[in-house]
Structures are given as C-alpha cells and as structure tokens.
Symmetry: C2
Subunit: 354 residues, 2 copies
C-alpha cells in the first residue's frame, strides 16, 4: 500500500544542525518530500542522511526569494520554519523539531506520528459540542447519547496538534521549578478543541491543511533583533484558532505522541520568554475577545483583519506589536505572491472539497 498522501504532504523541519534524527524516522518519512529551513549561519553545511528527498533553504535563499519581504521571516529562532509552509506546494504540511524521535505506544510499538496526523486531518472535527468519549470517529467509538444528530457530520479539520512523551513542553519558570519532570502519561485520545476555546499550540509535532489554514500559520517575529522568543507557535496557534472558529474549521489535539529527547536550557528560555510571560496576560484576553466580520470569508482576509486589531489593541502594550502587525501583512503579501490563486487552479488543485 502506498503511504497516505505521499504526493500531497511536505515535512517541514527547521534546523541548525545535521539531521541525524531522520535516521530513526526513515521508515515513516522517507516516502515524503522534506523542506528543510536552515536557521543561523548560511555558510554552514547541514548534512541530511542519504535517501531522503528534500529541498533546503538557508537565510540567503529566503532573502533571495522574498526580497524585502524576507523581513517577516524570523532569524535565529525556529519561527523561521514558517517559510517552509509558504514555499510548499502541497495541500498538507507536517512540521517536527529535530530533537523529536519516534515514541512507543503502551504496547511497545513504534508510533507512526505522521500517519496518525494524516488520519486526524482527513477525519472531521467536532468543535460545536463536546463528545465525552473523545473522537467519535475513532474505531470503537461514536457520539454519545445527547449529542445532536445535526452536528454529527462534523467540520473539516484544519490542524492536528500532537503531544510529547518524555520532556514536556514547559515554559522556563516551570522548567526551573521542575527540572526532572518527565511526561510518561500516554493518553489514548484525540479531541477537538471546542469552538471559542484557545489553546497553547506547540510547533514541535504539528500538522495542518495548508489549503484550509496555511496563510494563518505565521510564526511571527522572534529571535534575532526581536524582544521575545518561544512564542512563535503560540502566536500562530492563537491566530489560527480564532480564524478556524470563524470559518467553521476544526482543530484537534492529542495523539500522536513523539519522544522529545532533550530539554532546552531554562535560563536561555527565561531570557527569551520573560516579556511574553507578561504580554500573554493581555494577548489571551485579546484573542478571546477578537471577532471577525462576515466579509472575512478567506483565511487571508481574516488574517489581515486580525493584524489591524493587533496593531490597534496590542500596540498599546509595546511598539513590538505594531511591528508584528506590519509583519503579519507582509507575510500575507509574500504568501499570496508565492501561492498565486491562478497557479493553484492551473495546478489542478482545488482549494475546497476533500
């Protein structure tokens, strides 16, 4: 049997080192195309294990391809990965960090994380009502008594957010307080995050439908020259969730797990995060209250509308947010330039109907 969506999915990997971690993923990733976004010094040579089909972009490539609009792509931060989302020509993207390895399920079997993400994306979501037995489409499960029948068809799934065994995705303060905590709990569930509820989206083990939500998957301005880091995926997650709720798309979290091998340095992380720790107290209520009007009927229009609100409301907190609002607009311009609508149609890839 051919691997699922072999020609419809790219794997995006941001990195600053040799990609030896791919060896462990070989049985699962080798059939797919990789987009490697090299962060840091472009002169450095990144080794990719043999046999993988890939394209690699370093900072020089990003500058060359985007020109002045390259300013919206972060440098010296894994936020640079979103450049890979932009240059992909596929319907689906899976992104994974290079310190993430194959996890085992409780029976000891290797987990094919990518296959599970694909299953999550191809199967509907249920954001409008909570199902107490979790994913109603899973084998051996269904909608429980009291679940309205009109909602049982679900909505298209835009995002599949996977979890991590071993090193949990904690912020610096929690890392400092609990340096030895490891996640050993295998929760055998996929669930839809309800409409109207925000969540902390981690970019370590994440898949999404580019056609449905791609233009909102912007990982913001982080790292070099910016006042914060480690909020790239969070920022994307908040924007994405608000837009998915508005457009009637689903976001799932839970399975699959990957094995997260090493904790980043909590002191370095604290330096990157500390402004974000303050700011998120205002950012969360901002996104919880954000509304989009009916005429925002594409991801792009939603995203531009959000950028205006970011400038207006969050700009008061710090000038950084005005810069970020500009970058959000630049990102959309760059996205639309690399992904012209005519081109997509000429490629025979309709944007809706799965």
């Amino acid at each position: 049997m051919a691997p699922l969506l072999k020609d419809e999915l790219d794997i995006v990997i941001p990195t600053i080192r040799n990609l030896d971690f791919l060896e462990m993923w070989r049985p699962f990733f080798q059939p797919y195309h990789l987009i490697i976004v090299q962060d840091g010094d472009p002169a450095k040579k990144i080794n990719v294990p043999e046999g993988f089909d890939y394209e690699l972009y370093n900072r020089n490539d990003i500058n060359r391809i985007l020109g002045p609009r390259a300013s919206c792509i972060s440098f010296k931060d894994s936020a640079c990965r979103c450049f890979g989302y932009m240059v992909s020509k596929k319907k689906y993207v899976f992104t994974i960090d290079d310190d993430c390895f194959v996890a085992k399920d409780p029976s000891g079997k290797d987990i094919d994380a990518l296959a599970k993400h694909i299953q999550n994306l191809l199967c509907p979501s249920t954001p409008l009502f909570f199902n107490t037995l979790y994913d109603p489409y899973a084998e051996g499960a269904d909608f429980v008594r009291g679940y309205p029948f009109s909602l049982r068809e679900g909505l298209p799934t835009a995002v599949s957010h996977g979890l991590w065994l071993n090193i949990p995705d904690y912020d610096a303060p929690t890392q400092l307080v609990k340096p030895r905590e490891r996640n050993g709990r295998y929760v055998d569930a996929v669930m839809t995050i309800p409409k109207g509820t925000l969540f902390p989206m981690c970019g370590m083990n994440l898949a999404f439908d580019r056609e449905l939500i791609g233009p909102a998957m912007y990982f913001g301005l982080m790292g070099d020259g910016q006042p914060i880091g480690r909020y790239d995926d969070m920022w994307a997650g908040w924007c994405v969730k608000v837009i998915c709720d508005h457009l009637g798309l689903g976001v799932k979290t839970g399975l699959p797990y990957i094995w997260h091998s090493k904790a980043s340095n909590p002191f370095v992380n604290l330096k990157k995060e500390y402004k974000g720790i303050f700011w998120q107290e205002d950012i969360i209520p901002f996104f919880q209250a954000a509304t989009l009007t009916k005429d925002c009927d594409t991801v792009q229009k939603c995203y531009i509308a959000l950028s205006h609100q970011v400038r207006e409301k969050l700009g008061k907190i710090d000038p950084y947010f005005a810069k970020l609002a500009d970058a959000m607009v630049t990102w959309i311009e760059a996205w639309d330039t690399l992904n012209p609508k005519e081109g997509a149609e000429a490629n025979g890839k309709p944007t809706k109907g799965k």
Copy 2:
C-alpha cells in the same frame, strides 16, 4: 487512613431492584452513607446488602415529604434520583446506577471510582484556557508553555463526570446500529470542559458539590405521564454547565471509569427518546445562546432565570416545556424548603472556601 470526606458525602442510588451490585462496591462504599431512591411500586421491598448505612425513600416518602411539590420529582424514571440530592445534608454527592460495577485500570487494578471523583472535586478546574497535557494538577503534569500564569490557580470544581467501560452510553439509534459496540478504550485523563462548551452529562457515574451547584442538579420531568425519558441527566447537564460558566465554576470529565454491565433495550429507549432527538436540535442552540445577568449571583437565582427562558423560548416547541419550566421553579422551592439557609449556617457548613 480514614476514607476521604467520609462524613461529607452521600451516595445516591435510584433503583427498582435489590441492590446486590453493592457487594462489589463494598470495599469502597461501605464507609459512606447511602441515599436510595426507590422508583416504581412503593410496596415492593428492596433488599440492601448488610453492613451498609442507608436511608431509603419510595414514592410514598417523596409525596409525604414534599406534599404538592412532589410533582416535580419524576416517577418510573431514574430521574427520580434527584430527590436524593435534595434530601442529602452533605456537601458532596456521588450518584451511580445499579448496573455499574467496579472497572479495572490497564494494570488490572480495581478502580476506586469514588476516590477519584473526590480527588477531581477537591482539585481546581481550568475552564478558561485549554491545557494540552490535560489535568495540570495531576501527578507528573503541569501547565504547558503558553498557559497564562494568572489562570493557573483555576476555579472551584462543581462537577466530576466519570465514564464507562464496556457498554457505552449511546442513544437508541446508535444502539440499534451498533448493538455489539463495547468501549474498551481507557483514556488516562481528566479534563475540564471549557467555558462556553456544552456536553452530554450522563448520570450513571457522576459526582458534584451540592453546595456549589446542587440546586441546578434537577433531572427534570421524565417517565410516567411525560412525553420523554432518558433526557433527565442531559437536561441537568445543560442547565448545570450554563450556570457553572456564569458563576465561574468548573466541570470535569474523564476518569474515573466504571464497568457498565448491560445495555438497556434499544426499542424501549427509542420510544422514550424520540421526541428528545427532535427537541435537542433546538434545546442545544437555546442553551448555547442562554445568558444570565449579573444579579444572578446564586445557583437558585440562575436556575429561576433559566426557567423563565425555557418557558419563553422552548415553550414554543411544545407545551411540555412550559410544564418543565413550572417544575424547575417547584424544584427550587422544594430545595430551599428542605435546605434552609439558616440551617446550613447553624450546621457550621460555610458555602464557600475550600
């Protein structure tokens, strides 16, 4: 070690038969007080295994204690259990069906469902933001990166909704279509149902804080003389969730599991349910849109306000809802008569601060 909350929790069991199922629960339930609500023919003698401390109420008792207000307590339907919530004098209630047995966790160990419910109730909820590693207060877990620090204290937990292995809680159509489906998936998680999200609350394996939410745990008018059945717990769950969201209280679902031994007859269930299957299509949007004003600062006030909305908005669907709205008011009158505020204070049981 003394059993947790031994003198602060009642176990409420609705039944029409001898309570042999208690034998299996003896190690867990025997220290607690039971309130048995006998449904059906009051002349029938219900046997309770020796050694349990219990009080038993049949229909004659209900009529004697409530007088004309007994009309709000359903007959020939397990909805009658809510009479037990009303006569309890304890802070916490656990209710369980008499066809539910002790389940085993994946390691083969008997699950003490009651102890887990108590743990759920004593530990805060997090309805304002989703934590991707589920219960952040669980052993070995915490809040993940991106979770606002201001929300990490959580909110008081009002409800703990447990799940079922073996026979899942399906409606009649699903039972008919999947007669052999069994739930074998042990999902090792407790989660808070986010604010603004409704869920189908099942009364089979349920615990709650009577002081926080008791007056909203009304199981409606079902069974004898009523046009529907099997929506008793659903009705309570929808009202409870709207009120918990308004008052800043949490509702958890997930662990603990019980072993649900037998499926009820799907043909009988279809007869009970079929009007509900239509009506829930309007009831869910009604509750999703229901709002409570600031002056609704007690459960009772919230519940009376909801009853007015039920009469006004759902009354248009069927005259049944006007009757139900009346019964909601009667229920609150009966609750307040049996649970006078002075009495609670005289008992030295403060209603807040855990």
